[in-house]
Symmetry: C2
DNA sequence: AATTACAAACAAACAAGCCTGTTTGTTTAT
DNA sequence: ATAAACAAACAGGCTTGTTTGTTTGTAATT
């Protein structure tokens, strides 16, 4: 005799359903695009009805903004975790660049590209997402500030380098929509990593901390796969 | 008695109408976005009927691809002209960076952002624009190859620097959708220009061509306005 | 423990609006 | 007279938010 499953509370049901909807929304943002997906698509992908969807989110715009917030909060948490790791065990610019590339390339910036036009043209929508975007940037800042502190680089300078890194990565992923060329992107990423190593090494030289040997330890980043992923077939998180 | 205006030939009428339509399409791509503008909007902005629009372009997708091609060909022509200028009178990395920033910031990449999602999800559309995108990149290559030749930098290396420059600029403009901060963008651009000057100056040092004085002449770029333009109110070309 | 009333979560149907490509009609050039 | 360029009307489909209906959890009462 199969035991009766426990009843979920209303709160649990809500949390379940909204999480399914948010995840389905991000999947579809990535795989289909903001304007090519409908609320019907979202509901179907989440395995709920449109009535349930509109019960929890009163408009398409609202559910999209909520899904984006959810995704960015996850990413921000990962950044703070990395900053903590650097504080405890140290880190390298290579590792940071690799982590950022993987994060942005593993859907985050692909999804962002899908909603940038909406953010440009829809003031309400933009206002809804800006708070979490700023939290995300605070997370980025925390990572690079930790590295700067560790190697004695000026925080201001480290932040400029971080911003340049992020812009480069955004630009690369944007370009991937029309350029399918893994070798090209890998070369660019390696060029950038070398630049970053130099920046943090140069500053080391300016402060009587480093030695020629420190060059090796700072260059221990491993080569990551640098091919941007195009139309993602990946559905799992 | 007012003189009768000359009759336009059918060919002239076609050229007129299609040019109006292409320009209207780019304006609307920039100001409203690909998915927020309709063929009715385009026809109205061009001052023609929807029947005329569909006579010349059989679908919305076709007119958008044609407008993008038109825009990119203009930009490519500008690049080749700049390369010619460098060949004849020389040039600096500062001037090139400023030119590229202005070109991308003066609508080109804003318009690109509007169609990147479509290119990601619509294979037919992407195939239609890729040829002109590649011509555009050939134009970019010609500019940086001229500069490389002028200062004795390896062409391969110059092209890596160019690609990094372009990605950085793309990333900056992409970020401008959610960040309204002219100071930030100006600092980033200045940082990059200094990096480029060093790259071309360093290579000079490696070849017994330059002198300490050449540092000044290479750094004569003027500061451009680095604030990305947001919702463009500009209508003129 | 069973029943009742109520609220929340969920589903299905409705209806209006918008957009696109197609068809029909008019004007202009040859 | 004919073809090309242009305009206006047609019609079908899709999407969205709204309304109506059903199911599930919760608390109070018997």
């Amino acid at each position: 005799m199969k035991p009766r499953s426990r009843r979920k509370t209303q709160q649990e049901r809500t949390a379940d359903t909204t999480l399914k909807l948010l995840n389905a929304t991000i999947d579809l943002l990535h795989d289909r695009g903001l304007y090519r997906m409908s609320t019907s698509d979202i509901a179907e992908a989440a395995g709920v009805s449109r009535g349930a969807l509109t019960h929890h989110f009163s408009s398409k715009e609202e559910i999209i903004a909520a899904a984006i917030s959810h995704q960015l909060r996850d990413a921000t948490a990962g950044l703070h975790k990395m900053a903590e790791g650097i504080r405890q065990s140290g880190g390298t610019s290579d590792k940071i660049v690799d982590y950022l590339w993987q994060m942005m390339n593993d859907r985050l910036f692909y999804v962002t590209m899908e909603y940038l036009p909406e953010a440009r043209h829809n003031k309400t929508f933009r206002s809804a997402i800006i708070p979490v975007v700023q939290e995300f940037h605070a997370g980025l800042n925390s990572v690079w500030a930790e590295l700067a502190g560790q190697v004695g680089v000026e925080v201001e300078h480290a932040l400029v380098l971080m911003n340049a890194t992020m812009c480069l990565i955004r630009g690369m992923i944007a370009q991937s929509a029309t350029r399918d060329d893994p070798v090209y992107f890998e070369a660019l990423l390696n060029f950038w990593k070398e630049k970053m190593r130099r920046e943090f090494m140069l500053k080391n030289d300016e402060h009587p901390v480093g030695s020629a040997d420190s060059k090796q330890s700072l260059a221990d980043g491993e080569i990551s796969s640098a091919a941007p992923r195009h139309q993602g077939a990946m559905r799992g998180r």
